[in-house]
């Protein structure tokens, strides 16, 4: 399958992040078109396109928009989830740094469609470069009359606020993000009510991922048929894949959904010399790992689900034979422990407990009983925690045990570093493969 640069098509133009640069490639044509249409038509278009959320869950975007009650007299809000923090996910930040106007144009069109007059772009605080590029795009759009009152004479008014987070993975969970954006601790909210009914400031709110919104101008500009020519029936369109790990050319590869990992690997130059795939993860540490036998599966929501994992953020991490699964899983759990918000017992206590046990394995001090204990502890979190972060924390260990239980067994007597010389995994000189 061929690569299909759409969002990334003009990233080699160094002026793309400016208004003029973006416009020189047809930018903001979609906005002009949208503003001449009706909000309901735009919602229908996005619904028909079959676009699914690119943040990980894959919820149909148009359907999400249609949940917002119309003519309810309340203010509506669009909130862009730009809190990309999932280990392995690294595609929204590049989009914002390279093509911020695609996001801004998408924000304006989406706000118009859901009848929001104020949109917020919540960007994780640890990436000032993404924040300044998006803020600059917003500023230029405002100066050009694309944000503000009576946009392009349409009568539509919109304010866009760029907002920096302050270090909390949990704020990628949409209701935690809302609490954070309201100036509270970023802990998830009880649902119902769902954000579409009572979100930001208890008003109807749509929360979409950066890449999702960046798709909107292209769909509106080029149409449903164009969009649907990519991908599959259930996973239409294209995807900004970010391939990382022991590949020759890690980076951004935009391709239709349905491309296989093997194809992406080829585009990325294959594995580094002398190296082969040991395990890979299609979309962030929260989805179960796969092995070389899965390399020919199409990267779609449905095929990944069938393989017992998820497409997630669509940012494959590829690890070669030098990597200790025990160490990789332990590191992920340390992350979940660090990022647990503390609200619910299973996640707060479970990540603390599991991490402690995994660290024993990493040092070669685990026991076979503890392998079972870990399995049941993960079972005590999965489906019992308050939000998906808990489920995510319960994913790496069972996922790894499915294919690599021997490594954990070995870790009852031999440390991860003894099993796998860490230096061999390094990608800079000094690495010995």
């Amino acid at each position: 399958m061929k690569l299909t640069p759409v969002i990334t098509e003009f990233w080699d133009d160094p002026s793309l992040y400016t208004l003029d640069g973006y416009r020189s490639h047809g930018g903001y044509q979609a906005l002009a078109k949208a503003l001449k249409d009706t909000p309901d038509n735009i919602i229908a278009t996005v619904k028909d396109s079959g676009l699914r959320g690119r943040g990980g869950a894959g919820f149909p975007t148009g359907l999400k928009w249609s949940f917002v009650p119309q003519n309810d007299g309340k203010p509506h809000y669009l909130v862009v989830n730009a809190d990309e923090s999932e280990p392995g996910a690294c595609k929204d930040i590049p989009i914002m740094m390279a093509n911020p106007h695609a996001l801004v144009e998408g924000v304006i069109i989406t706000s118009f469609a859901i009848r929001a007059n104020h949109a917020f772009i919540y960007i994780r605080g640890e990436v000032p470069e993404a924040i300044r590029k998006v803020a600059y795009a917003v500023k230029q759009a405002r100066e050009a009359g694309l944000i503000g009152t009576n946009i392009l004479g349409s009568g539509f008014d919109l304010e866009v606020t760029v907002h920096a987070g302050a270090g909390a993975y949990i704020c990628g969970e949409e209701t935690a993000l809302l609490d954070s954006l309201e100036g509270y601790r970023g802990q998830p909210r009880l649902k119902p009510p769902f954000p579409a009914v009572a979100g930001l400031y208890a008003s109807p709110t749509v929360i979409n991922n950066v890449e999702t919104i960046a798709n909107i101008p292209y769909i509106v500009d080029r149409g449903v048929d164009w969009f649907r020519q990519f991908g599959t029936e259930k996973s239409p369109g294209f995807k900004v894949f970010a391939v990382s790990g022991h590949v020759k050319r890690p980076g951004i590869y935009e391709a239709p959904l349905g491309i296989t990992m093997r194809e992406l690997l080829d585009y990325a130059g294959g594995m580094r010399d002398g190296s082969e795939v040991k395990f890979w993860i299609p979309g962030g540490s929260s989805v179960p790992m796969l092995t070389p036998e899965h390399l020919d599966l199409p990267l779609t929501y449905e095929a990944m689900a069938e393989a017992g994992t998820m497409l997630g953020t669509g940012t494959p991490m590829v690890f070669d034979q030098t990597v200790s699964v025990v160490k990789a899983v332990t590191r992920w759990l340390e992350f979940y422990k660090h990022e647990s918000c503390g609200k619910c017992t299973p996640c707060r206590e479970g990540t603390y407990w599991i991490t402690g046990v995994l660290e024993k394995f990493e040092h070669g001090h685990g026991t076979e009983t503890e392998m079972d204990t870990l399995t049941t502890l993960c079972g005590q979190i999965a489906g019992r925690s308050f939000c998906a972060l808990g489920d995510a924390a319960a994913t790496p260990y069972p996922g790894a045990m499915k294919y690599f239980s021997d490594e954990f067994k070995a870790a009852t007597h031999t440390s991860a570093d003894e099993q796998f010389d860490p230096v061999k995994s390094y990608v800079f000189s000094g690495a010995r493969v």
Partner: protein, 798 residues
């Protein structure tokens, strides 16, 4: 009249129709109102689902996950505390679902992983929801072998509450209580994840009058009180249901004692009154019960009080009172139980043959007597907590609920959160007003009556809505014409009046006729039918009943003049009264003073005979809350030998060849036999407002935690009191040259305190009425609304 309540009487109006839905819980079919939470529905059929974060009076958070249950057709177990039932829902708890059982066991194992095994030294041990639920739904043994999370041992979150962080299960009940119920979000969850902990801002304590409730709702031993910590094991305590004696809010309490000493008090459940809360004064202030007591009868001999036998003291007292004939009076104080107040009322009328009686040991007026007779007396449960909660609007007049009736404050806050518009007519926009998001009708102290007569149309309209309430405090008596205006306002808008005195005994004493001019049940003493009815109950000749006598202030003047020769007092402190100095002088020269008291005071020092009387733990009784709701209680210490006031009066009556029962049950029956009064009532008062001085006037009220006698010997509680300051408006502060200290002066002297700029009406200056360094009657000689002078000073205490 009845002093036990029919619970229905408070539910004025018809219960609204409820939509019922059918659900099945563990195979039991039941119908519950739509929207009921699964955990509550299960309780109705006796199924207890484990819980920590759940509390019926707090918003659900579903944080602890202890209550996971299975619902048919739902793939994941759901939290019963946040899941509302829907029609046809089939619910399986741990009793019938392996999924639920395993889920609950898993959560419990996680909760215990980091929980210390210090139950043997933990205050909560023996009454601990974590301990209990670990036994009922937990695994027999922990698999956790790691290092338990520890924190440096305990930290004070305020002067009276300590926090052991490693015991905390992050249920957030305490922080949610602080925010949702008390409106004091100064206790918060800090940090996150495994490090998440309860705490406050640096060097800022959890500042709340209701802080003690957090100890009680903590489902583990994380929050403990400085005064109770390590003092007792719950299973060594005897628990007795009681009623709080501190104010007219009428809280149900549980008093726990061991070996004859009260160790702690807890809020007890009364959904119509205090729900499940109480204030810190009610919870912590009880040391006075054991300390500084009058222990023996005393008689004065050669100018000195000496212990005497009961018979001797009785005969001295009887002789002294008989010598005075009907030239006597009775000052009841505001803390008597209903039964004791009734005994004083009857003792005055039938033994002393006088109507000179008053329960108001505070600023009072004849206008107030008339107001109470016209609007309040004989109308128990006329206006209730429920009315306040459901009111579309409430106007507070001379009433600071957070300080003067804290449970009313909580109910007003609940109402305000749900949409009730609260207005407050006051010279000061207090912290409490802020928490009620009240509309401030700013008024110079002393001009409240005029302001009330000139309310703007919007406020008036809001009070004209059906169900609106006018809440008026006892301080209204200080401002001539104010209570008359209240009556007129209620009449013209249709708003209900809630009169809310501070002290626990006032409403009961009013109903029992412990006030000149009124016989029990709100009967005018001038009314012949009223006299006849009471004479029948009392088994006396109606003609023998006295005619309208002197109320408090008049009575004190009469004692001063010598026209009243003898006086019986009960728990009165002169410093509480504007006429306090006059009273002390008068008692110095009075022929004969009999004091019934449990503590020594300026009055016992001057009495000719002092009788020790019981405190609330030593007697049965009833407090009638401000609503007129009777809250009976039994003696905590059933073997106590101390006599109640009624018991002493009965002996005294006997010594005076009269008869009066002192037995609580007999008195209760007698009170119950008094018919409801349907006869004439006093007219509403029509006192004119008085113009006030152009200069500064005094705004004042008693802070909840202050120098009150019954708060003595509780240093941890006292340390949480609000500091004594002079509150002044910014304009007035600037006019004085923005001094750090201000001296406020009145006829008797001055008070100097740190100046604090607040939301105060220009021309008014606020002082606490009875706090350390600020006792307005003794130090200033000026009361609420009266002229004072204000000056900048360089500092230092007065």
């Amino acid at each position: 009249m009845t002093i036990t309540n029919d619970p229905q009487t408070s539910n004025a109006g018809v219960a609204p129709a409820v939509d019922l839905v059918n659900v099945v819980i563990d195979g039991v079919e039941m119908a519950v109102p739509k929207g009921t939470l699964v955990i509550r529905a299960a309780e109705q059929i006796g199924i207890e689902i484990p819980r920590f974060c759940d509390h019926p009076l707090l918003e659900p958070v579903a944080a602890c996950r202890a209550c996971l249950i299975e619902i048919d057709g739902v793939p994941k177990p759901q939290p019963a505390c946040a899941q509302a039932v829907s029609d046809g829902m089939v619910i399986k708890t741990q009793h019938s679902s392996e999924v639920a059982r395993v889920a609950q066991e898993g959560v419990m194992e996680f909760l215990l992983a980091n929980h210390p095994l210090d139950c043997p030294i933990c205050d909560k041990g023996g009454e601990c929801p974590l301990q209990n639920q670990a036994m009922s739904v937990g695994r027999p043994e922990s698999r956790f072998e790691g290092e338990k999370r520890t924190f440096p041992k305990p930290i004070n979150i305020n002067a009276q509450i300590l926090l052991d962080r490693e015991r905390c299960v992050s249920c957030a009940r305490c922080t949610r209580f602080a925010d949702q119920i008390a409106g004091d979000p100064s206790l918060e969850l800090l940090e996150r994840g495994a490090k998440q902990q309860v705490g406050t801002a640096d060097d800022q304590p959890f500042d709340s009058y209701f802080s003690g409730n957090t100890i009680q709702i903590c489902p583990v031993g994380a929050l403990t009180s400085a005064s109770y910590r390590f003092r007792a094991r719950p299973f060594d305590l005897v628990s007795v249901p009681t009623t709080c004696e501190h104010c007219a809010s009428g809280c149900s309490l549980r008093t726990d004692y061991r070996r004859g000493v009260v160790t702690r008090r807890l809020a007890w459940d009364d959904p119509e009154v205090n729900e499940e809360w109480n204030c810190d004064k009610g919870r912590f202030a009880f040391a006075y019960q054991s300390n500084g007591r009058v222990e023996l009868p005393l008689v004065r001999e050669n100018g000195e009080l000496r212990p005497a036998s009961w018979p001797e003291a009785m005969s001295v007292a009887a002789a002294g009172l008989e010598a005075a004939g009907s030239s006597t009076g009775v000052l009841v104080g505001g803390r008597a139980t209903v039964e004791d107040a009734y005994a004083y009322s009857k003792f005055a009328r039938t033994v002393l043959n006088t109507d000179n009686i008053d329960f108001r040991a505070r600023a009072l007026s004849l206008e107030e007597s008339q107001f109470l007779a016209a609007e309040v007396a004989g109308r128990t449960l006329h206006t209730t907590y429920r009315n306040i909660e459901q009111a579309p609007a409430a106007l507070l007049i001379a009433f600071e609920p957070e300080d003067e009736s804290p449970i009313v404050f909580l109910r007003l806050r609940k109402a305000a959160e749900a949409g009730t518009k609260v207005h407050t007519l006051s010279p000061v926009y207090s912290l409490g007003s802020e928490k009620l998001a009240a509309n401030w009708i700013s008024v110079k102290a002393g001009t409240e009556a005029q302001a009330l007569s000139n309310l703007d149309a919007a406020v008036r309209d809001s009070l004209s809505q059906p169900g609106a309430v006018v809440v008026v405090g006892e301080r209204a008596a200080s401002v001539p014409g104010l209570l008359s205006s209240v009556s007129r306002l209620a009449e013209s808008t249709g708003a209900k009046i809630a009169w809310i005195p501070r002290r626990a005994g006032e409403r009961g004493a009013l109903e029992m006729g412990a006030i000149a001019g009124l016989l029990p049940g709100g009967r005018p003493i001038s009314d012949s039918d009223a006299r006849a009815q009471i004479a029948t109950v009392w088994n006396v000749d109606a003609d023998s009943l006295p005619h309208a006598g002197l109320s408090g202030a008049e009575l004190i003047s009469a004692i001063s003049r010598g026209s009243i020769k003898a006086v019986v007092t009960a728990g009165v402190q002169p410093s509480d009264m504007p006429q306090g100095a006059e009273l002390i002088e008068a008692l110095n020269t009075a022929d004969f003073v009999v004091a019934l008291d449990n503590h020594h005071s300026d009055i016992t020092e001057r009495a000719h005979v002092v009788f020790p009387v019981a405190v609330v733990t030593e007697k049965a009784g009833t407090f009638m809350d401000w609503e007129g709701r009777s809250k009976p209680f039994a003696a905590a210490f059933r073997d106590a030998l101390t006599l109640s006031d009624a018991g002493v009066l009965a002996m005294l009556a006997s010594a005076m060849d009269s008869s009066l029962s002192g037995d609580t049950n007999t008195l209760r029956k007698e009170i119950a036999s008094i018919p409801t009064w349907n006869g004439g009532r006093a007219d509403i008062p029509t006192t004119n407002a008085e113009s006030v001085d152009a200069g500064p006037t005094l705004a004042t009220w008693r802070l909840l935690l202050d120098s009150g006698l019954m708060q003595e010997d509780e240093p941890h509680l006292a340390a949480t009191a609000r500091p004594s300051v002079v509150l002044i408006s910014e304009n007035d502060h600037v006019a004085l040259g923005t001094p750090a200290f201000i001296a406020v002066s009145g006829p008797s002297g001055s008070i100097t305190l740190p100046a604090e700029v607040g939301m105060v009406a220009d021309g008014s200056v606020w002082l606490p009425m009875n706090s350390p360094g600020s006792h307005i009657y003794t130090q200033l000689g000026a009361g609420m609304g009266e002229a004072v002078t204000v000056a900048a000073t360089t500092g230092g205490a007065a």
